[in-house]
């Protein structure tokens, strides 16, 4: 892994950023990623010299494909999904920042007659195969001594999955905010479990291509710097921030706060800790990555575990930390 190639201060304007084509960064509907809309709206990218074209995806899957095929330089995605795509991505995929951990925003919603994980046996579950909801459900099933084979998976795009459950077409739904909100509109439905029970299991990341890191490291740095400024803005102007995010997420302002409650935004310190090889706990991403890769191979999403070491890179966090110090 190449070391840091820039010693510029994070906030300095870089002339290259002015003239070069903007880097393309994708994001999709997840509470931990909505804040990027603030950066765009409030000019925080420009402020930090990030020359970014922010592209919103209605389909999370499409955003990951776009990164893998080189159409994006950066994208917001989870750790397990990054592992799925890493091996095939044309320009490589590297996580450079943890935005947040899911702390309840990923849920399994079930129909009235289901009360325990065991009750799910033989039931139908609507979810988007291979993405976080699926992972959360699998973790829960394994904890209960069951496996994915014990339920019938109905593979749908997450929004459609929620609708299908709400319309009474399946017995359960697994997915993230705000879609479980749709699922819960079904009479008698309830939350069976959430990501709050699995701290560290679902880290939400900023992932860039290796090429971007190699060719425009200063832009990656600028993205990381911008993020922390966004967090600061949210702390200082909560109402304004919420309004921007609610509009982006297409949810009502008054509904909004509870989504944020299920999201634990990561501080710089938490970021550094997550990237470190601390031990055999899910909160350390190198370990979590191994567990997830096992899961992915087991359920057949990927043929073999990719090389995991290159997909985590905390150099930009380190640089930011140094600049802060």
């Amino acid at each position: 892994q190449s070391g840091p190639q820039t010693t510029e201060t994070p906030t300095e304007e870089t002339p290259a950023a002015e003239t070069a084509a903007p880097i393309k960064m994708g994001y999709s509907s997840w509470a931990g990623w909505w804040p990027w809309a603030i950066a765009e709206q409030e000019g925080l990218f420009e402020k930090h010299g990030a020359n970014v074209e922010l592209i919103w995806f209605d389909g999370y899957l499409e955003s990951m494909q776009a990164l893998a095929s080189g159409q994006l330089d950066a994208n917001c995605q989870t750790l397990n999904d990054t592992i799925s795509f890493a091996a095939d991505a044309v320009n490589g995929e590297v996580a450079v920042l943890v935005n947040d951990n899911s702390a309840g925003n990923d849920k399994v919603i079930v129909a009235a007659e289901i009360n325990t994980i065991e009750d799910l046996s033989g039931k139908t579950v609507a979810l988007e195969e291979g993405v976080v909801g699926d992972f959360l459900l699998t973790l829960a099933l394994e904890d209960a001594g069951m496996s994915r084979e014990d339920v019938t998976i109905k593979n749908l795009e997450t929004g459609a999955a929620a609708t299908a459950f709400a319309a009474g077409q399946t017995d359960a739904f697994a997915g993230w905010v705000p879609f479980w909100e749709t699922a819960l509109t079904r009479a008698g439905s309830k939350e069976l479990l959430s990501s709050a029970a699995y701290p560290g299991a679902i880290p939400d990341l900023l992932v860039t291509s290796q090429t971007l890191i190699d060719e425009q490291p200063e832009q990656v740095q600028a993205l990381v710097n911008t993020w922390f400024d966004v967090l600061a803005f949210m702390a200082d102007n909560p109402d304004q921030a919420n309004a921007i995010m609610a509009k982006r997420a297409n949810v009502e302002d008054d509904q909004f706060q509870k989504y944020l409650d299920g999201t634990r935004f990561f501080t710089l310190e938490e970021n550094l800790e997550a990237f470190s090889a601390g031990g055999e706990e899910m909160k350390y991403m190198p370990y979590a990555a191994e567990r997830m890769a096992e899961f992915m191979v087991e359920v057949g999403f990927i043929p073999e575990t990719p090389e995991l070491e290159p997909i985590l890179d905390d150099q930009f966090l380190q640089t930011y930390a140094k600049a802060q110090a």
């Binding site: 209605d58 499409e62 095929s69 929620a162 609708t163 709400a166 319309a167 749709t182």
Partner: protein, 270 residues
Amino acid sequence: MTTTDRSLQPTVFWRLAEGIPPGLSWLLMALSVLVPLLAWFLLSNAGVISPRFLPTPQMVVTALGRLWQQGYLGQDTFASFFRVMVGFLLAGLVAIPVGIAMGAFASIRALFEPIIGIVRYMPAPAFIPLLIIYLGLGETPKVALIFIGTVFYNILMIMDAVKFVPKDLIESTYTLGGNRRQVLFQVIVPYVVPNMLDTFRINVATSWNLVVVAELVAAEVGLGKRIAIAQKFFQTDEIFACLLVLGVIGFLLDLSLRLLLQTTCRWAID
């Protein structure tokens, strides 16, 4: 003795292969739209089906108003319309020369028909991943999808139209001193203009079918995108609203192409 007691047409309604009075025709055409609307109104307001599954017409109108006020309706319609038009125009620009050449020259036909016959069956939506890879995420892949989805139909239908140009008309032109180039451009091409317009009228519906799929690719605005969002949040009222807008646009498009045909090709309509 009169001749009208028992006749060929016992009822006006069931006249076989014959016209009906214009008055009845207009009445039935109005019923055609009004009866389904009424059925929808009654069914959705009866309280039997949850309005989440079947919104009432009132809810759909409200949703339309909301989308309009939020400024979505205008920009979505415009965006989708733009994509359909660009994709379809490009498909037309390619299909006209290729279709005419295939219709006119047996050699060109032999050269293109087999490969088009195969590619035509490859579903346009299946090209999405490839389009993203090659063309990125902007308007290009969306337009390209619409292009792919309609160009082959256009080509084959224009080719068929050219095959029906009367041979006598072509040979007349030779005997008037025309060369093959003149026959192609001054006889065959004008002859098939009405058929081309009709082809386009039929196939533009396919373009609208595809714009919804195309807008799954990183679209910011568009009716398809709006439907996708409504679907995610189970807002059946907005889905219905968008479908209604699509239906009306299509109908108007159909009408204007018919009108265009009638005004520009007066010679072709009896």
